[in-house]
Amino acid sequence: MSEAYDRGKIEDYGRWREFSAGMWAWVLHKFTGWVLIGYLFTHIPVLSTAGTGEYEATLQTLEAIALVRVAEVGLLAVAVFHILNGVRLLFVDLGVGLEAQDKSFYASLIVTGAITVASVPTFMQGVF
């Protein structure tokens, strides 16, 4: 179907605007999932050096960089959203509260935002 779906230049105009809550939830869940997987995989080379002092040294160097601190806030946001939306999806799988699926998505976004903002002072301590 995908090749027959071509309707010329006017086809894809503004198509992303038709996205609804459930679709955004899905896209964000996939995105955050891949970010978390990538983050987990970065540990594989580092963990093998644990105990030699290299690991601690690497982490201390990284923590000193302001950009890394900012990225850590982003990582927390990604993890929190993935957890909350995951819980939401568990409820959807159980068939509980399907009517409120869009509200629960917005709620998980708001809670993610709140937790992220609240975490900023902790993460940014001593950087600037």
Binding site: S2, E11, A25, W26, G95, L98, Q101
Partner: protein, 298 residues
């Protein structure tokens, strides 16, 4: 032919009758037949009157997708603008029909019952799948962008090829097949009220294809059954009178790789369904049913 031969005297009579009504109120009123004929003639002249391009009063701006592979110069998709007089209670389908009848008779779209039962006028209006006959123009932002259903082949203008959708609908064997005959001869297959209530929404499907068109999974996975077909499977799977063999067979189709498990619960089908069928809920319930059938430890 005979009616046409009678035409001239009739118009004279009409003119006389009208004069009579105007001049002497006490005179005998025109017969029902005469009145009808007069009204019809008046209506005809009234209809012919706005044949000029200018329409008085408020209008609706339609942007309609046009495409005709058989005509050179129309083979490249484009949008046509129509300015249709706005009327109270006007639906998208009404506006389209006005545009077709008054401006461009080559404008092609499917419609039949005009009351949301036949399911032939599912359209993509302002970025959402909806039934043209069920959508009020006043609920939409101007201009109203009307396109054929996405993710289906366009045959011409707003007409899409539904064959793939029908194939998937038939793939789940959507027919009733009980194991045993009812007790007596000519007896009905009885169903409990509760069970009827359970499958009530699922029976409402009118095969319009709006859900399958809105589904991002169905758009990328050609083999995915799609919401409507799974809903049809649900309608029979949840029917307590359904036979065990058929039930097992159907669950086998539904729980395949391209069956229920492809659903990512984006709820787009549930949102666009013109019959308000809770499609995602039904798909999720079939998922649980499939798990229950496969995880039998006893």
């Amino acid at each position: 032919m005979s009616t046409q031969e009678q035409q001239p005297p009739e118009t004279e009579e009409e003119a006389e009758a009208e004069q009579a009504v105007e001049t002497e109120p006490g005179a005998p009123a025109e017969t029902p037949g005469e009145r009808r004929r007069r009204e019809r003639a008046e209506r005809r002249t009234a209809e012919r009157a706005p044949s000029t391009d200018e329409v008085e009063g408020p209008t609706v701006h339609l942007k309609v997708y046009r495409y005709d592979p058989e005509v050179e110069g129309k083979a490249e998709p484009r949008f046509d603008d129509f300015y249709v007089p706005r009327e109270e209670g006007m639906t998208v389908l009404d506006a389209l029909m006005y545009a077709r009848d008054h401006y461009d008779s080559s404008l092609t779209f499917r419609h039949s019952c005009r009351q949301g039962v036949c399911g032939s006028d599912a359209l993509f209006v302002n970025g959402t799948q909806m039934l043209g006959c069920q959508t009020q123009i006043s609920d939409l932002d101007d201009p109203v962008r009307i396109e054929p259903l996405p993710h289906q082949d366009v045959v011409k203008d707003l007409v899409v090829d539904m064959e793939h959708f029908y194939e998937r609908m038939h793939a789940v064997e959507p027919y009733f097949d009980p194991d045993d005959e009812p007790p007596g001869e000519m007896e009905e297959y009885r169903q409990s009220r509760e069970n009827r209530e359970k499958i009530k929404m699922a029976t409402r499907c009118i095969w319009c294809g709006a859900c399958a068109s809105s589904c991002t999974i169905a758009a990328t996975d050609e083999q995915y059954l799609g919401p409507a077909a799974i809903n049809a499977a649900y309608r029979f799977a949840m029917d307590e009178r359904e036979g065990d063999d058929r039930m097992e067979e159907r669950m086998g189709i539904v729980e395949q790789e391209h069956g229920v498990w492809r659903c990512q619960t984006q709820f787009s089908c549930t949102q666009v369904c013109p019959k308000d069928i809770p499609l995602t809920e039904h798909i999720q319930e079939l998922k649980r049913e499939a798990v229950k059938q496969n995880l039998k430890f006893w």
